[in-house]
Amino acid sequence: MRGRPVGIALLMVVIAVVAQTAVFGEGRINPFGASPAVVIVVVLACARYLDPEPSLFLGFTAGMMLDLLGGSPLGLWAMSYTVAVYVGLRFRARAEDGPLVIGVGVFALTLLASALFLIVGTLFGERFFTSTAVIKNTLLPAVYNLAIAAAAFPIVTRLIGDRRRLGWSI
């Protein structure tokens, strides 16, 4: 695996993390009380072109950054994003490329990452399920991510997808 695409992907993830924590969220851009999960979209977009191993590392690193900058125990987002990327890698082996598939994939994997975060977080003592807001906070980011994906995927394709596609098989 050449280093340049991985470096660019890492840089994009850092930008996404900064945007996620400084631009979106409570007191920032937060329509209807929820904000898009920008980081997972960028990770999935990069994982479309990177080899499986760098993709998994990228998901783990992105999650760790969110853990370090947030209030949840370390490793929760890292675990959730790693699983989402792994499922995404498996999924791309079977799926036809196309906007619809990408949209469904981004929506489903965002939901998966959030659900895993909630479940594993609960096992580690976090109390996420005390109000019905948890449903809204899980569903809305997945919906918003469809719009974010429409913008992010072409940018990522332009930056790291200009070489021969690795194909859908892992």
Binding site: T21, A22, V23, E26, P52, G71, P73, A78, S114, F117
Partner: protein, 310 residues
């Protein structure tokens, strides 16, 4: 065959990463705010804070514009909410006179000097959290400014949360919305003590275990004074409730602070639970002095309502 080997390698890596993440989470939870996780967070804050500040500064006009659009869209709802709030305030004003006289009486009884001169540090929210589930915020002041773990964080409306992690130039605020945060409070109308617990939204759960009087909607709830200084406004009781069955009173409290509009906050520094004040402070709704002063209140006057936990 090559495809199989690659699949196998990525699956192995996947499992290793999961184990690492699981161990990190376990150690971090067990370390309870210490250990290697704290060092890593400190490093991440140092690296990301300047980037976050730049991003916030650049996007603030856009955020303001979107916020204004959202305000227009929700004008009708806001009107309704303001109408309700107006009614609530009217009832509050009516109750104020009786509470005021009661308070004067208590002051005379206890011969307690009221002091609102709590030292505080102005700080700005630097990070809005990493997700909608994140009930912690980072501020741009830390131990260099005298902030320490456990300090109360307030804004001009009331209690925001408490400091649960401190570095030299930054600190993490655990919001009172967090279900792991419980605050000892007092109803300013009935003077009954209880606790409020976070509920992941701007409606806290109020529990009064030995309630003789009903909790009336519109009553202001303030900190009772154990871990936090007494008299900081926490919120307003949303629904009238009474202890009919004898198992305690449970109702909801709407927070005084609008967490979606948090920008600047004040951290009350140098307060120790031993400085806990008397009921004399109960109605001081704006403990936000501009200058640092020394707290001279005598210790040992805590009302004994049970401590906050997080």
């Amino acid at each position: 065959m090559q495809s199989f080997q690659r699949f196998d390698r990525s699956t192995s890596l996947f499992i290793v990463l999961l184990i690492v993440a699981f161990m990190l989470a376990t150690f971090d939870v067990r370390a309870d705010g210490g250990g290697v996780g704290t060092t890593m967070r400190d490093g991440a804050q140092t690296l990301f804070s300047p980037l976050q500040e730049v991003a916030s500064a650049v996007t603030r006009p856009v955020v303001g514009f979107i916020d204004a659009l959202s305000d227009i869209a929700s004008l009708r709802e806001e009107n309704d909410a303001l109408r309700l709030e107006n009614e609530s305030l009217r009832s509050e004003v009516q109750q104020f006179d009786s509470v005021q006289s009661e308070l004067e009486h208590l002051r005379e009884l206890n011969d307690v000097q009221v002091s609102g001169d709590l030292p505080s540090v102005l700080a700005r929210i630097g990070s809005a959290g990493s997700s909608a589930f994140d009930l912690a915020r980072w501020i741009d002041k830390g131990s260099n400014d005298g902030i320490s773990i456990g300090d109360a964080v307030i804004d001009e409306h009331g209690l925001v949360g408490r400091i649960d992690l401190v570095f030299d130039g930054s600190a993490r605020v655990r919001l009172i919305l967090d279900p792991n945060v419980t605050v000892a409070v007092r109803d300013t109308v009935t003077n009954q003590a209880g606790t409020v617990t976070g509920n992941n939204e701007e409606a806290l759960v109020l529990r009064v275990f030995d309630a003789e009087d009903p909790a009336r909607a519109g009553s202001v709830v303030v900190t009772a004074g154990s871990r936090f200084p007494a008299g900081i406004v926490v919120g307003t009781i949303a629904e009238t409730a009474s202890d009919d069955a004898g198992f305690g009173l449970v109702t909801t409290v709407t927070t005084a602070v609008s967490f979606s509009k948090l920008d600047f906050v004040r951290v009350i520094v140098g307060y120790s639970p031993l400085d806990a004040r008397s009921e004399g402070d109960l109605l001081e709704e704006a403990p936000v002095p501009d200058e640092r002063t020394t707290d001279t209140t005598e210790p040992g006057t805590e009302s004994g309502t049970g401590g906050e936990s997080s």
